[in-house]
């Protein structure tokens, strides 16, 4: 797969790619190949030529059936044991939530608002706010996100920005991603630290904390673009730190294989690259829909709060 990506990169042939979290089932398409697959993507306005459909903004139903708290708590405690033994200091723990909605996944693709939207018919739908990496000319950027809060809370901005635990987690992730970028680029620097964006959901508005990091790539990087991407995987924000040991903990604790959830998708247009972390992810399985969500666990984490966050992330961004 790396070879195919490197080949397209070298020839400057535009291609789209999907890499699952376990890095076992990657897929790569040229734009022509994509037409047959029915896949639609819209990354910050960069789209393949899918049919433009008009879905009227009818009211819709959306119901979630979160997993029992005890089941969450069991896994949480497993993770905490590993953290206490010093095997990891941040673990991203995720679960599936059964949902029922009058919306089809296709309709959510057309009606939702998100930076990165991707619809894979019969498989999944993603409306991710999170960039994996962006490459413009020879600069590589990444924007780690960590920390959300209900925007309607009084002083929401102050609370999230001053919360020492949120800050510590964010620093961990920024550090991890800075190290990741340093594997493939030079002059790595944090351009913006902990800036806040507002995200609108069908239930409420939430504030999201992000940072911006950049690095400089060597000229001709696109000839080994596949290798470069693989060197950065899996994405730090959805695994934890240190990466390898944390991945073992995730494999040992989570109930399901992640598959494309928390994997990445990207589009190389022949010059630049835009890619996303596949979170805010609805999976179709035996005609049932599962929303996958999670959060970063540290030794200081409060299980009830983390569980609440897991449930809060189950939404569709249709205002």
């Amino acid at each position: 797969m790396t070879d195919k990506m490197n080949f397209y990169g070298k020839k400057k042939i535009p291609f789209f790619f999907l890499i699952d979290f376990e890095m076992q089932k990657p897929e790569v398409w040229t734009l022509d190949e994509m037409k047959k697959s029915g896949i639609c993507f819209d990354f910050n306005g960069i789209k393949n030529d899918f049919e433009l459909l008009d879905f009227p903004s009818h009211p819709f139903s959306f119901q979630k059936y979160p997993i029992p708290y005890d089941r969450y708590l069991n896994s949480f405690q497993e993770v905490q044991k590993s953290l206490a033994m010093g095997e990891s200091y941040l673990v991203n723990l995720t679960f599936k939530t059964l949902i029922e909605t009058s919306l089809s996944l296709k309709e959510i693709f057309y009606r939702s608002r998100a930076k990165y939207k991707l619809f894979y018919p019969g498989r999944f739908l993603v409306f991710s706010p999170e960039t994996f990496v962006r490459i413009e000319k020879e600069t590589i950027f990444t924007y780690p996100m960590k920390g959300t809060i209900d925007a309607s809370l009084p002083d929401a901005y102050q609370i999230i920005i001053n919360d020492p635990k949120e800050k510590a987690e964010h620093v961990t992730i920024v550090d991890l991603l800075r190290n990741d970028l340093a594997k493939v680029s030079g002059n790595v620097s944090v351009v913006r630290f902990r800036y806040i964006e507002k995200i609108k959901t069908h239930e409420k508005e939430i504030l999201q904390v992000s940072s911006e990091i950049k690095g400089t790539l060597r000229p001709g990087y696109h000839e080994r673009i596949g290798s470069l991407i693989y060197d950065l995987l899996p994405a730090g924000s959805v695994s934890g730190a240190p990466k390898q040991k944390t991945l073992e903990i995730i494999r040992g604790t989570e109930e399901d294989e992640r598959g494309f959830y928390t994997g990445i998708a990207g589009f190389f247009d022949g010059n630049n690259l835009e890619s996303a972390v596949l979170i805010r992810f609805i999976e179709e399985n035996n005609k049932k829909l599962f929303f996958r969500s999670g959060g970063g666990i540290t030794l200081d984490s409060d299980p009830e709060k983390e569980y609440q966050e897991l449930k809060d992330k189950v939404y569709v961004p249709i205002a």
């Binding site: 997993i67 708290y69 449930k311």
Partner: protein, 291 residues
């Protein structure tokens, strides 16, 4: 209008996505979604997916549920423990559950064994070791052994709470469970009238008080087990105290008052249920899901 759950500070603990919502008992509450009943935990996690036509509460690890017109009892894994043999079934209370077959009521124990054969016209759940029941329009008070203790001579009798049972005189019975008009008072365990029937509506005693209503002067008060007024409240409607808080309706919205009558949780809700295990179901405005 969906139901959510709040804690004692009034903060929403479980988001509003239930058509109906019951109180928590043994950490579990029944909820209705898409026309079916299921069960959630104290943080809103789904313990049993909504699939039941009707449901009661968990007690002694068992909850009555209805499927296809018949009631049985399930455990928290959703396994059938007592088969779906009953036309109606109520929650277990004090180790007995009232069940009905062919319009007659009796009691079973948690093993599913019939303790009192269904032969009564109507029963309340076992409460404070006594069963209040009616047969051919006569009320009875039975002990746990099934012996008649006495026959309360009223038009309607409730079950015992804090040693008191509500009674009605002069009301017209509509079916077995409902009564219209008349005046309400309270009797004690021996059947003696403690509060003379004088109220137009009364709640059962809870936390040593009962909310009572008089139409004449449109007033709600809480009385103690001696019939003395302990609190007079300016509200359109009230519900009993549970865990120190009582739902109160003021200007069409529900909040909660504390035992001194002060508003502790603002009147923000369209309806409000009892607190139990630190949580109370409240009905909130529908969220708009249209674009």
């Amino acid at each position: 209008m969906p139901w959510a759950y709040i804690d004692q500070t009034g903060k929403i603990k479980i988001d509003a996505y239930f058509k109906e919502a019951g109180k928590h008992s043994e950490g579990i509450a029944k909820i209705k979604m898409n026309g079916k009943w299921g069960f959630i935990d104290r943080l809103g996690g789904m313990l049993l997916q909504p699939k039941y036509d009707d449901a009661g509460n968990f007690n002694h690890g068992l909850a009555p549920v209805a499927l296809n017109g018949k009631w049985g009892f399930i455990n928290i894994e959703g396994e059938t423990i007592i088969p779906f043999d009953y036309d109606y079934a109520w929650d277990f209370q004090e180790e007995l559950a009232a069940v009905s077959i062919d319009r007659k009521w009796g009691f079973i124990n948690p093993e599913g064994k019939t303790v009192f054969k269904p032969q009564l016209d109507f029963v309340w759940s076992m409460s404070e070791n006594k069963i209040i029941a009616s047969l051919k329009n006569v009320w009875y008070c039975f002990g746990r052994n099934g012996k008649i203790i006495y026959k309360p001579n009223f038009d309607f009798v409730g079950s015992f709470h804090d040693g008191m049972a509500k009674v009605n005189i002069g009301g017209k019975r509509i079916g077995h469970r409902l009564i219209q008009g008349g005046k309400w008072g309270f009797i004690d365990r021996t059947g003696k009238i403690i509060v003379r029937p004088q109220y137009d509506f009364v709640w059962n005693f809870s936390e040593k008080t009962a909310g009572v209503y008089q139409k004449e002067n449109d007033s709600w008060i809480f009385i103690d087990p001696n019939g003395q007024t302990v609190l007079s409240v300016k509200a359109e409607s009230l519900k009993p105290f549970n865990e120190g808080l009582a739902p109160a309706e003021i200007n069409g919205k529900w909040g909660y008052i504390n035992s001194s009558g002060k508003m502790q949780i603002e009147t923000l809700f369209l309806d409000a249920g009892d607190f139990s295990e630190g949580l109370a179901p409240v009905r909130v405005e529908d969220k708009k899901n249209d674009g």
